[in-house]
């Protein structure tokens, strides 16, 4: 298996808001727009992040039970002639948004800040369950020793525990 590396990028703790039995997730990826990443984007190669989101059932004194998982792909491609960044966003493999951005700051915001992402439906889970959302970002790959490919990943960011109807504070 290839090694993984984080390279200083971090993902914030996801914040989950339950609305109409949907988990709306907010999180932010920081320190991801490094020189290597910018060079790659500016070269015109499709470049982006894959956010892996997991919904887990919290279990005391035991491992959490995975319930659902999905991916959010944010890929940017720079058109040097038009001097415009085309950002495509896919949730669970389906294109949900495609827009052009001309400014790098806008691009970074577009790619690293996720707001109210309707990641999971919560209809089938009992309200007594305590749930957790985990998010990690995969930022492409790099080679070690010139030939060992490694995937660049962040650590998992875990949300607070919540229930299906209402978000609950810890220990409630």
């Amino acid at each position: 298996m290839p090694a993984t590396a984080t390279f200083g990028a971090e993902i914030s703790k996801p914040v989950v808001t339950v609305e109409e039995n949907r988990a709306l997730i907010d999180f932010e990826l920081s320190e991801a727009f490094d020189e290597r990443f910018l060079d790659r984007i500016q070269s015109g190669l499709p470049t982006g992040f894959v956010y892996r989101l997991e919904l887990r059932k919290d279990r005391k004194r035991w491992y959490d039970r995975p319930m659902r998982e999905t991916t959010l792909q944010v890929v940017a491609m720079y058109d040097a002639v038009a001097r415009e960044y085309l950002v495509n966003t896919k949730l669970g493999g389906k294109l949900v948004e495609s827009r052009g951005v001309t400014d790098l700051a806008d691009l970074e915001r577009e790619m690293t800040r996720v707001i109210r992402l309707p990641a999971f439906e919560l209809d089938e889970f009992p309200s007594s369950w305590r749930l957790i959302v985990r998010v990690r970002a995969e930022m492409g790959s790099k080679t070690l020793l010139s030939f060992i490919p490694v995937t660049i990943k962040t650590d998992w960011g875990e949300s607070k525990k919540f229930r299906t109807k209402n978000a609950l504070p810890d220990g409630a």
Binding site: D39, L45, A80, G100, S141, K142, T143, P149
Partner: protein, 757 residues
Amino acid sequence: MPAHDFKGRRRRPQRSDARWVVGGLLVLLVLFVGVLYFFQRTRDLPSFLANNQVLLFVLWYVDIILIVVILFVLLRNLFKLMVERRHRMLGSKFKVKLVLTFIGLSLIPVLLLFTIATELLQGSVDRWFTAPVQEVLEQGAAVAEELVSRIEKGTLRDASQLLQDIRPIDLADPQQRPELGDLLRQRLQTTNLAMVAVYDERVFIQAAIDPQAGITDLPELPADFLSDAAATGWAVRPVRQVPGQSGRLILAAAAGPPAPAPDESGGDQAAPPPRPIVVAGALMAPSLAEKTERLIDASQSYRQLEVQREDLKASHLLTFLMVTLLILLASSWVGLYLARRVTVPIQALADGTRRISLGDLDHRVEVAADDELGVLVDSFNRMTQELKRNKEVIEQSNLELVAANERLAEERALIGAVLENVAAGVISTDAAGRIFTCNGAALRMLRQRESEVIGLAAADAWRDPERRKVADLLSEELENGHLARELHLVLGGEWKTFDAKVTAIDDGESEQEEGAPGEGESGRVIVLEDLTELIKAQQLAAWNEAARRIAHEIKNPLTPIKLSAERLLYKSRQEDPALGKALEEAVEIITREVASMQSMVDEFSRYARMPGPRPTSVDVRRLIHETIHLYRDLKPGVAVRGNIPTELPAAQLDAEQIKRALINLIDNALEATDAPGVVEVSAERRTGTLYIHVADSGRGVPVEARGKLFLPHFSTKGRGTGLGLSIVQRIITEHHGTIRVEANEPHGTIFTIELPS
């Protein structure tokens, strides 16, 4: 027959194995060609495909799997080899050498090639990104971007100028549209713009197109173009798809401040008034647009390659590594396979040898091979089969030998019992002339004990002159493996006569030894028959017969005498006047018959009074010639001749008696032979015996009469006393010789005298 390895597992035929090897090598070749093709194709592929990260990971995983497989194959086989070496299996050392040789032979060049290729690749990739190339591409792109930027700025400036020009015009008033149109057309003529358009916020108001620009219609504005312009006051966008043109249209939008609200005192918050936006479009010539785009694209491609440099190196490295590992795997596997191909038959042969040495001759080495090893295995199996067959033959022979030995022992016991109970003496000697057996009868005949003869040479066992005759007879040369002789020995002060028959035991294999009986003989058997009592009985019978014949002969003249006497008595009583004449006749008859009786008695007296022989050294050749000389021209038409070798040695004989015997025999021969005929006397000396043959071509003697010829008073002539041959036999017997009669071929009779010389 299905092939099995030496452990008994079924193996595929070797031809199938060869196909697997060839197939594997072909797959490897195809793979190599495919990799080569891949490298060729990557030149034409988009860089993001050639350096796809999925490909990178696939290559990495393939390499990992190959490394694991190679390690598994090598370690497994090395472990097996270690186990085999520890158990000292035959062929394990050879297999280790073979495997290491194969792996070494493939590993060293492959790794060398891999290292060199890697270095070359790294160097080549690094040379791609040399400073001059990068500088040229970046500067070219910068020039292109600067050109586009200038066009954009000029267009934006014209749009801003036009925005200032139309400020007095109320865009919401349709009456002022012709004025606006004139203004727009005028601007087109005074600038390089291809088109201008005026929007009230997002609502199209009016536009003008330069007819010389070749644009047939207004282009579709990019998304968010007007909103961006409204939000920021300006916007610039290139448009590639221009109706009626293949060039690029640089659109610049300048947004004016919002128009003053018509009524600002209203209580309700009204929507913000629309902002006038002027969109100006400058057309870049197709060639210029293409060149700038190509410069920018080239720079982008270069930057992409630079960004992907590590991935590119990694993918090439991993591909090289994959090919290297594939070659290693193939070479290791082929090495192991070939080693197994060589060592498996050897191990099978060794195992077979071990099992055969333990006596398992049913074991067969089953290895599918059609090369020299196959020939070796087949030869080994044939040898095993032959061994088994020989063993069976030997076992069968052994059984037969045991049975034969048992039979022989039984027969020996039987023969021993028979020999011990037969009256004849039987003595056997081995090839060296040592006495092997001597039955009781022989010991009694020779008056010896068993310990005095068994195991000794005949000459040692019988040293005294009398018994020495037996030893001499045993060492004589045989005729057709046989020899018969009558032996006369004086044992214990008694005359003993034995009929001795010597027979050679011929096995055809015995080597001749010094003093051995004869070539090709494994020994001799001498059978002694004691004739002493038989001869006495024969003599008694002969005398009985002679007495009966004499009585008969005496009775014959007595009858005429008696009849003559009775006739005289009758004549006398009758006072016959012819008594005188009768008396004369009777006296004559009586006198004649008495003379006959007298002659007969005299003959017998002579026979009875015949003196014993007085032997002297006699020239036998001369004796025979003198005797023959007496009969020269005696009977016309019948030749009497001699056939005597000149070197015939002298013999100890009574010349007179032997001459008498010869005369008798020649007389009989002449009498039996009618003219024309021949009577031949011949002599020879063989093995210490003098042979004299008297042969005639006459009538011959009937078979039934031959046994009685030598009896006294037996005659086939119908006249004479019949004592001639009896006298001859007596002379010969008294010389310790024998006489026998046989038929001559084609007709006639042969009398043979055998005399010890």
